[in-house]
């Protein structure tokens, strides 16, 4: 997967894309499996989840998992 750094092509609902999701609170690296293999990096009092998600519905189920743990969501960025 080529990670684009700018000038994104238009994203469709079915495209895979690289996302970075920031949540409040530090998570241990063992949460990687829980978040479908996304890299889990704790920085200060936040956690950054990053990686390629298969499509938009995969992204939304990740967000639902964050919701289900009661983790406050700070930002969602497509990189």
């Amino acid at each position: 997967m080529l990670i684009e750094t700018g000038g994104h092509h238009d994203l469709t609902l079915t495209d895979p894309a690289y996302y970075q999701i920031r949540v409040q609170g530090k998570l241990a690296p063992r949460w990687m499996a829980w978040f479908e293999g996304l890299t889990v990096t704790a920085v200060a009092d936040e956690t950054i989840l990053s990686g390629t998600v298969a499509d938009q519905s995969a992204l939304h189920s990740l967000l639902a998992k964050i919701r289900d743990l009661g983790l406050p969501l700070i930002s969602v960025n497509r990189i």
Partner: protein, 897 residues
């Protein structure tokens, strides 16, 4: 299912929240209460507390206390049929009869349920409840099916307004996709959100020091309050971590916890887990994959290969009991303590640890859970766990095993989602799955895709080598199914010879006790006999189809098969038998308390047409009006169009020409929007022509002849109900008499070959009128005589009266008692006929004399018990008696047997 309806008992260690309970009680004056907050904010706990305090201080003493009903949702409830069955089961805790008709519709309908009709019935039942009550839908965020959201919105919109009715309480981690802002403005909504649910500083102090019995200093309480921000799950976990510590280590723990930036639960779960003995840790991690826990199920999961020693030392029943005592996020789901679940959030935390610690054991655990559920015959659970193992062969085997039940329970969505989720390569090696998939394609109108599935199944059958008797029987069954599906594909495409071939093949191959599929194949075969003009075979086929459907317990399907059977009897001009058949169909579409299911619309419309023919127009109108309303509710296009045609016929007889024109137009719009059954096109033209002729629109008739697409030399189509009779009528009307006579002669042969006496009467009648117009009274009377002979047994009236004065003239020249009776009907609407006992009534009477109970009579004749009652009522009336013994005595006197 009962565990889903269980209201969790408030724990003795609960921190009471009277201000929230008070708000909830006040919210009962709204239609909806939404409790929307993330996991761990105590939604369920609050509602459990509310359950014991509902309206405690607001109910006038005179009124019965309202009740709280409860439904805990899970992801399987995204199948609408399952959702509504559970929804009604939950409401029935309030009144056992509540929604029973709606439930019958859901369970009986072989098609995807007619949701609006079902909801209307349910709403009426709810509206009948005298006092206020509430239903909790817990974990509503698990519902993602838009059809369920839409249906729920419909229900809420049509509920009777509080305070008497039902208040829905929706508890969810996300705002449900319902029109909340509109309801907010209209003050029909009470909302409790995270900010309302979070523990205040005072509540936190009460919780930590009174409820959990800790002795924390004020600064310690303040530090914990700040760190958890009133998040109850966090506080609970903190309390658990503190409870088992020696007092001197508590300050250190609180300092490091409140200073840490780790996700609270992550941090605390680690703490709590590490304080448990190893076997409890294993238990918690292993069983975290379960949605619900029971001791035997947990035992099955914990069983180590090669020995059960561990179980004996630590039986799961004891562990579960201890976990509940220790307040370890475990919630009992029944009073008997058979089923429990973890708090969802806690289960998530445990599962992360399980996946991180022993990833290789996860599929094994799911496999064990699936096997246990399979033994317990819990279909959805067994398959859901199986899907986590990626053991597709096993999943496929399970899906095959349960598919039949799923189809019978109308849980199509679930079944097809399973098949879709399997890899194509796996489906293709499983002929049964291919056959089921071909049905989906049929319903979606995808013939090519469906045929491809069937071909794959056939290739498999052809490849399969020698086999034992059981495998041979299975192969024969598959071949029977393939033929059934093909027959329906062909029927949709009007390939009549192929329908005959495939449906007959199916009935040859299918075992006699496969009532469901035999009736499925029978419907197609009946249609094919209709299409080739064999009304006797068609009648018999539909009759078999109806009795198969009844034997298999599918009253919905039996009712429609009976209607088709009755239509064949009408074709044979046996109107009295047809009436009995339609009445039986109606009885099968009638609920326990006499209310009609929406599928009653069809037999009602048919009964209306008969009453119209017998010139009982008031009764006819009542029937067809109800028929149109119910068919519209059902939303079935063919049936709606047929009911509208019936209405138009009655309107024409009542000389409401404006209304008839509107009705025909409505039917026409339906027929243009989607394909309807072929005979309906013929009937609509019949109505149109009669309307134009009655209102003097000869120009319309001329134009129709030019544009209708029918010509004198066409082959006739039985499937289109000998549409050319309409052309003959139009030709007579515009004076093209010789052409009409030629056409009518050929039509008569076609009708008589098919034993279509109903059509023969029409044709002979038109012949008589044509000869009359030509001045050939001899031929005219001969044709009329034949028509009357065919019509008299069925008591036809309207068919003759509708032809107005020319027909009256002819009848006057035909001296007979029937002709006099018909002439008497000119001007009179109600022909009171004294009826002899019908064939069916005689059969019932004979069985009565043999000493059979109503139930036994119903079983012997394969009819509904309510139909037997109706027959008895008619028999009593006709014989002028009031009891069974009197009836039998009177029948003997009359020499009836």
């Amino acid at each position: 299912m009962q565990t889903k309806l269980y209201i969790p008992l408030p724990k003795p260690t609960l921190t009471p929240r009277p201000h929230l309970v008070k708000q909830l009680n006040a919210g009962l004056s709204r239609r909806v209460i939404v409790i929307s907050a993330p996991a761990g904010f105590g939604k369920t706990t609050l509602l459990a507390e509310f359950g014991t305090h509902i309206m405690a201080d607001a109910v006038p003493a005179a009124r019965r206390s309202p009740q709280l009903c409860w439904l805990s949702l899970d992801e399987f409830d995204n199948d609408p049929v399952r959702f509504w069955i559970h929804f009604i089961a939950a409401l029935q805790k309030k009144g056992p009869e509540l929604g029973s008709d709606a439930l019958a519709m859901l369970q009986a309908s072989p098609q995807v349920p007619p949701t609006e009709a079902m909801l209307t019935s349910l709403i009426n039942d709810i509206a009948g409840e005298p006092d206020a009550f509430a239903l909790v839908l817990d974990d509503y965020h698990l519902i993602t099916a838009q059809t369920i959201h839409d249906a729920l919105e419909f229900l809420i919109l049509h509920l009777p307004p509080p305070p008497t009715g039902l208040t829905l309480i929706v508890a969810s981690r996300t705002d449900p996709p319902l029109p909340l802002s509109r309801w907010r403005v209209q003050e029909e909504l009470l909302e409790l959100r995270a900010v309302d649910l979070a523990f205040s500083a005072a509540e936190t102090a009460v919780y930590l020091n009174s409820t959990t019995g800790l002795t924390l200093s004020n600064p310690e309480v303040a530090a914990l309050t700040a760190r958890t921000e009133g998040w109850i799950a966090g506080l609970q976990m903190a309390a658990l971590s503190i409870q088992k510590r020696s007092p001197e280590t508590v300050p250190d723990f609180i300092r490091s916890f409140t200073g840490s930036h780790y996700y609270i639960l992550d941090y605390l779960t680690e703490e709590v887990l590490q304080r448990q003995p190893p076997h409890i840790q294993t238990f918690l991690l292993y069983t975290s994959i379960l949605k619900r826990l029971s001791a035997p199920l947990c035992d099955a999961l914990l069983k180590d290969e090669g020995g059960g020693m561990k179980d004996e030392i630590h039986p799961s029943s004891l562990i579960l009991h201890n976990l509940e005592q220790a307040n370890l996020f475990i919630v009992p789901l029944d009073d008997e303590r058979c089923w429990y679940r973890y708090h969802h959030l806690f289960a998530d935390l445990l599962r992360t640890r399980l996946t991180a610690t022993w990833p290789e054991r996860v599929p094994i655990l799911h496999q064990r859970a699936s096997a246990w559920y399979e033994t317990a015959d819990s279909t959805e659970e067994a398959i859901a766990h199986a899907f986590k193992t990626e053991d597709y062969e096993r999943i496929a085997r399970l899906v095959e095993k349960y598919a039949w039940n799923m189809l019978h329970q109308s849980k199509y969505n679930t079944l097809f989602a399973w098949i879709e989720a399997l890899p194509t390569a796996v489906v293709q090696t499983r002929p049964w799955l291919c056959v089921y998939q071909s049905w989906t394609h049929h319903w979606a109108g995808l013939r090519e895709e469906g045929e491809a599935c069937l071909r794959t199944a056939e290739e498999w059958l052809a490849r399969a080598s020698s086999a034992n008797a059981e495998e041979m029987a299975d192969r024969q069954l598959i071949a029977g199914y393939i033929a059934t599906v093909r027959a329906h594909y062909a029927l949709t495409h009007e390939e009549i010879p192929r329908v005959l071939e495939q449906a007959q093949k199916a009935l040859r191959l299918l075992p006699p006790d496969d009532y469901f599929t035999r009736s499925t194949a029978g419907v197609a075969l009946g249609g094919a006999y209709w299409g080739v003009g064999d009304s006797v075979q068609a009648e018999q086929t539909y009759a078999e189809c109806a009795s198969n459907a009844l034997l298999g317990g599918y009253p919905y399907r039996a009712s429609s098969a009976l209607c088709y059977q009755g239509m064949q009897q009408v074709k044979q001009a046996r109107l009295r038998q047809a009436q009995e058949t339609f009445e039986e169909a109606l009885a099968l579409a009638t609920g326990l308390e006499g209310s009609y299911f929406p599928n009653a619309g069809y037999p009602l419309a048919k009964l209306g047409e008969l009453a119209c023919e017998w010139d009982d127009l008031a009764m006819a109108r009542q029937y067809v009006d109800q028929g149109v309303a119910l068919c519209t509710q059902l939303g079935h296009v063919d049936l709606m169009a047929e009911a509208l045609v019936a209405l138009a016929r009655v309107q024409l007889a009542q000389q409401e020409f404006g209304g008839a024109a509107d009705t025909i137009q409505q039917a026409d719009r339906l027929a243009q929007s989607s394909k309807v059954d072929p005979w309906i096109y013929c009937w609509m033209d019949d109505c149109r022509l009669r309307l134009w002729l009655a209102t003097g629109r000869r120009d319309e008739v001329v134009y129709w002849i030019e544009t209708c697409g029918l010509s004198l030399d066409d082959p006739f189509s039985y499937h289109y109900d000998l549409h050319h009779i309409n052309l003959a009528r139009a030709l007579v009307a515009v004076g093209r008499l010789d052409e009409a006579l030629g056409l009518l002669g050929r039509l008569l042969v076609a009708a008589e070959t098919a034993v279509w006496h109903h059509e023969a009467i029409k044709i002979l009648k038109l012949q008589a009128l044509t000869y009359q117009a030509k001045g050939d009274d001899g031929e005219a009377l001969a044709a009329l005589g034949r028509a009357l002979a065919l019509a008299e047994p069925g008591g036809y009236v309207r068919s003759f009266v509708d032809e107005r004065e020319p027909m009256a003239e002819l009848l006057r020249e035909h001296p007979s008692s029937y002709a006099s009776k018909l002439l008497a009907a000119w001007g009179v609407n109600n022909a009171a006929l004294i009826e002899p006992l019908s064939q069916r009534e005689l059969e019932v009477l004979q069985l009565l004399a043999d000493g059979l109970s109503n139930k036994a009579i119903a079983q012997t004749l394969i009819i509904a018990a309510s139909t037997v009652k109706k027959h008895l009522k008619n028999i009593y009336q006709k014989l002028n008696v009031h009891s069974r013994t009197e009836a039998i005595a009177r029948a003997r006197e009359l020499g009836l047997f």
